[in-house]
Symmetry: C2
Subunit: 117 residues, 2 copies
């Protein structure tokens, strides 16, 4: 059965060490189906998972960034956050493997949930 | 007399409307002398004033971003903030004039003060 945003968000992040496998293209495509607004793009020679969320003010975008920071600290897995007036861009990737792990998709699902909190 | 980081941070931001003058190259060069770590770079066809600050953790970088957000809201002038693990990049520019105003240098000085708070 395919993942949903909710089921993905509820998965536990796994310990990820150098040598852990990157996600396969097929699995990434499947998981993206559960993550509206997210896409895989190349940045700095790596695949990263990114989405941009819009808000009414700078403050609302920054508050969202703080909610993402809280869930990042809780999972000990951290994104890049770009905050400007009315907009926040989030990029997830796994530094230790130089690309995307299933963990990144789990964190993306949690991020989407935090955008509507 | 040349500005210092402290004197610049203490200046009031002026109302800036379309048609307000961009800062001159000479004035920008003079003010950069009071802003260690800051540089003017081109981004999206505009000059922006940018600096990157390093921290020990993601949380410390995010807390700095929040301090910058507070001073941005207080001045009603907002930057782009990029937060990642141990690092935060700040970019100031003035949207209404498509470039740099003295206000941006004032905000940069306040940002530097917030980095050591």
């Amino acid at each position: 059965m395919s993942a949903t945003t909710e089921s993905l968000a509820a998965e536990a992040c796994q310990a990820c060490r150098p040598g852990s496998p990157r996600i396969s293209a097929a699995e990434a495509a499947d998981l993206l189906g559960a993550l509206p607004g997210w896409e895989v793009v190349e940045a700095g020679g790596m695949d990263v998972l990114t989405a941009t969320f819009t808000f009414d003010t700078f403050r609302a975008a920054l508050e969202f960034a703080n909610r993402v920071g809280d869930l990042a600290d809780a999972a000990d897995h951290h994104p890049e956050l770009v905050v400007e007036w009315g907009r926040a861009r989030v990029r997830w990737w796994t530094h230790t493997i130089g690309g995307l792990h299933r963990n990144d998709f789990i964190m993306a699902a949690r991020t989407s949930a935090a955008a509507v909190a």
